[in-house]
């Protein structure tokens, strides 16, 4: 991890008696989009405001390029912040909003003019430069907020759910634009969202937060395919999970005894025999070709078309429900009542220790969730 830029050391914060952040430790490297992903109310905004300097942590340190900035006032930190509600200044035009940061620095008029024009071009706002914020659409306001922060080349740019007020199409378009802008400017971003899809598609790395704690940090692939606990597995994507007990190791495979028989998964050196675990797989991890291990014999109960896939609900003889994703062409031939045998390769199985204390994530899309007994 070269070019280390921001590190948080054990940041804690309470509002009154309720702890909102419980010892956050985090490192964000230069030149990446780092995501903070977590459900509403888990403390994401509070953490951002602490990094930006609008809120003092009760304990812990913030280091920027190795320098302790915990007590430095916000306006001397050189950290940009894009607010969820944009916070554009209604009495200034688009141009004046964007130029504000440069004008503060008393730079030559010509230079300011040139930079503002560049920035407005980059964000496609040049035609709107003389309009006031109230005359802009949501997406345009969003881009002004972005341009206003980017133009001073902050050491770090924080974005607090910047797209949550836009409609779905615009959101998709803005995701691409932000990614492009990040690539072109090379500014390190910390991006807060509660939208797992946004985090998975845009992040270089992400941290999943829950109830004031960071529960897992990693690349999108690691988070998706190797969730470290039930909360992450549930909150990021969908997973079919079974409770089980480690029964042994064999040829590098972890063996877990479950109600559906013996299941095998690769890796997992840190499990001990007899340990209670949860084991499962993502809906799209299955294979219809006969496999040697992790074979499930089920009956199809329901099918529906998803985005580019077929969603299939199937039940095992023991009464377990599984959600499976199949290619459309394969899946469309299935009908309710039909038998379906599938297997999951051991390297695609997900295993983590049973952790009853971690509450399961609240999913907005309840239909995606298999009914687990």
């Amino acid at each position: 991890m070269d070019n280390l830029i921001l590190s948080l050391e054990n940041i804690s914060k309470r509002f009154g008696a309720t702890p909102v952040l419980k010892g956050i430790t985090l490192t964000v490297a230069g030149n990446e989009i780092f995501f903070l992903l977590g459900p509403s109310g888990c403390g994401k905004t509070t953490l951002l405001r602490i990094i930006a300097g609008f809120c003092q942590p009760d304990s812990g340190r913030i280091l920027l390029d190795g320098q302790d900035i915990t007590g430095v006032p916000a306006h001397q930190r050189h950290i940009g912040l894009v607010f969820q509600n944009y916070a554009l200044w209604p009495h200034l035009t688009v141009w004046e909003n964007v130029a504000y940061g440069l004008k503060l620095r008393k730079l030559p008029e010509k230079f300011v003019h040139q930079r503002v024009e560049e920035m407005l071009t980059l964000t496609h706002l040049l035609p709107q430069k003389n309009l006031y914020p109230s005359q802009l659409s949501g997406g345009q306001q969003q881009r002004v907020a972005l341009a206003r922060s980017l133009i001073v080349r902050p050491r770090l740019l924080l974005l607090d759910e910047p797209l949550s007020n836009l409609d779905a199409n615009l959101r998709e378009q803005m995701r691409q634009e932000i990614k492009k802008i990040q690539k072109e400017t090379g500014i390190t971003m910390i991006y807060v969202t509660h939208d797992q899809r946004e985090a998975l598609t845009m992040a270089h790395r992400l941290a999943v937060m829950n109830a004031g704690e960071i529960v897992q940090t990693g690349t999108p692939l690691q988070i998706y395919f190797e969730p470290g606990n039930r909360f992450v597995a549930d909150f990021v994507g969908t997973v079919n999970l079974l409770a089980g007990k480690v029964s042994g190791f064999e040829t590098g495979l972890l063996q877990v005894e479950t109600s559906e028989g013996l299941l095998r998964a690769t890796g997992g050196g840190d499990f001990s025999s007899g340990q209670a675990v949860e084991i499962g797989f993502r809906p799209e991890s299955i294979s219809l070709r006969p496999g040697q291990s992790n074979v499930f014999r089920t009956t199809v109960t329901e099918t529906e078309i998803g985005e580019g896939i077929m969603r299939v609900m199937a039940t095992s003889p023991g009464g377990r429900n599984f959600l499976l994703h199949l290619p459309l062409e394969t899946g469309r031939k299935l009908q309710a009542g039909q038998n379906l045998i599938f297997s999951v390769p051991p390297e695609r199985m997900i295993v983590f220790p049973l952790s009853p204390s971690v509450p399961s994530a609240v999913k907005r899309n309840g239909r995606d969730k298999p009914h687990l007994p």
Binding site: A74, R77, A87, W89
Partner: protein, 552 residues
Amino acid sequence: MKKGLLSFSLLFLGFFLVYPLLWLLPQSFLSGGRFTLRILSSLLSNSLILQSLLNSFLLAAGTIVGTSLIGIPLAILLTRYQFSGRRFFQVLFVLPMLVSPFVGAIGMQQILARFGSLNLLLLRLKLIPAPVPWLGSGLLGIAILQTLHLYPIMYLNISAALANFDRSAEEAAASLGASSWQNFRTITFPLLRPGYFAACSIIFVWSLTDLGTPLVFEYPQLLPVQIFNAITDINVNPAGYSLVLVVLILSALFFIFTRQVVERTPYTTGRTPVSEQGHILSRRAQKLLIAGLSLLAVISLLPHLSIILNSFSQRWFFSILPSKYSWRSYQAVFHHRLTRTGIVNSLFYSSLATVTDILLGLAIGYLLARWSFRGRFLLDALAMAPLAIPGIALAFAYCTAFSGTPLDPRKNPVFLLIAIYSVRRLPYLVRSTYANFQQLNENMEEASASLGANPGTTFRRILLPLIVPGLLAGGIMVFAFSMLEVSSSLVLAFREKFFPISKVIYILAGRLTDGPNVASALGVLGLLLLLVCLGGASRLAGRRLTDFFKTT
């Protein structure tokens, strides 16, 4: 920075509000360094003072009856019925409260006198056999003027209550067989009660402490006049202190009572407001209603009309209208030394009071909206306290507390006049800047800070431009009301050199020959100034004019 603002605000309020009021306490309870109730009890043995107290209560009660009789039906008619010209009347009926009845009293004397316009008109129409003594002992005349001045408060409060009131409550009662009157008594009135009580207590205190009108009508047996007179011989007669204390306690009690009533009403908030439509009236009913409202409008604007007439009249004896008109009074206004001094003085005092209030309002509004600190409650309470303190009481307190100091108003009242003007209007400015800051999302300031702006720059470049319109509007209103401030001007200005406009008007009104006409002309100019200011302010603030008069 914030600490500096806080100390400055507290210092100002402490010196010009808390200190003079606290000063009153030892004066009314200490005699020769000992605690005593003798001074208070001596009030009860003084028949003139007892009579004055009684008269004042009578006057206030009469004014409440009068304003209720006009204000409640008016509010119901104007909110519940639809007819052409409704908007016009809704604004028109706020106007009477603009000008203090003190100026109107000068004109009304001409109208209500024994051989004044009204009696002459009625005699000519053969409606009465002999002149009616409208002014009677004077109390009735004062009550009429106060009623005509204050009923808009009743009307505004009741209208506001009616506006967020669920009509289905009445309809439900009607469907159970309640008659209109039963409905009003059992459903409508109880729901209007908080607004009604709020209006009553404002009107009561206002009427109880009005100094200008009784002075013009030369009716001394009233509490405010007794206080006014007590100032001259305060060193020999401590009764004034106790009288002021009585007034202060009464108005504080009413103020607290009003807040309690309004705050403890569970059903005034969260109601979906009814549509503003109301019953559509038949053509005939509309005509009748409009005729009635127009008559009321003429009557209630009579004081204003009368001073306008008076200001233009050159001869007006034993005739319904002046028999000769001229501009003479207006020329006099700009040529007499006294009037010119008054205008220049008032402009000077009011401008400085406005600047003081803008600075203080900005500081206190900002602190209250953006900083949570110990003592926040205290600052809030102090800044709002002047709402509960009658002008005459504060002016009296100034007179006595600063007597013998370099600020002694008998020597030079400039400082104290500026201070009292700004203290009295401060609550309005604090409230409006506070609301302004509250409406501005704090993120806008943070966005500026995150771009590297220090707090001063953020304040100057982001906050200030956004609140300037509201601030200016508030400032204009402070200016206008200071120009026309009555009781404190009458009490605090002793020497002609320092007279503000109100005191000049009062002095002129008491002079024979053309005095009242010149006073009226000055009053008309004041009225014009106020109208211009109101127009400017409401345009700036983008708000309806009536918002400036929301009293609770």
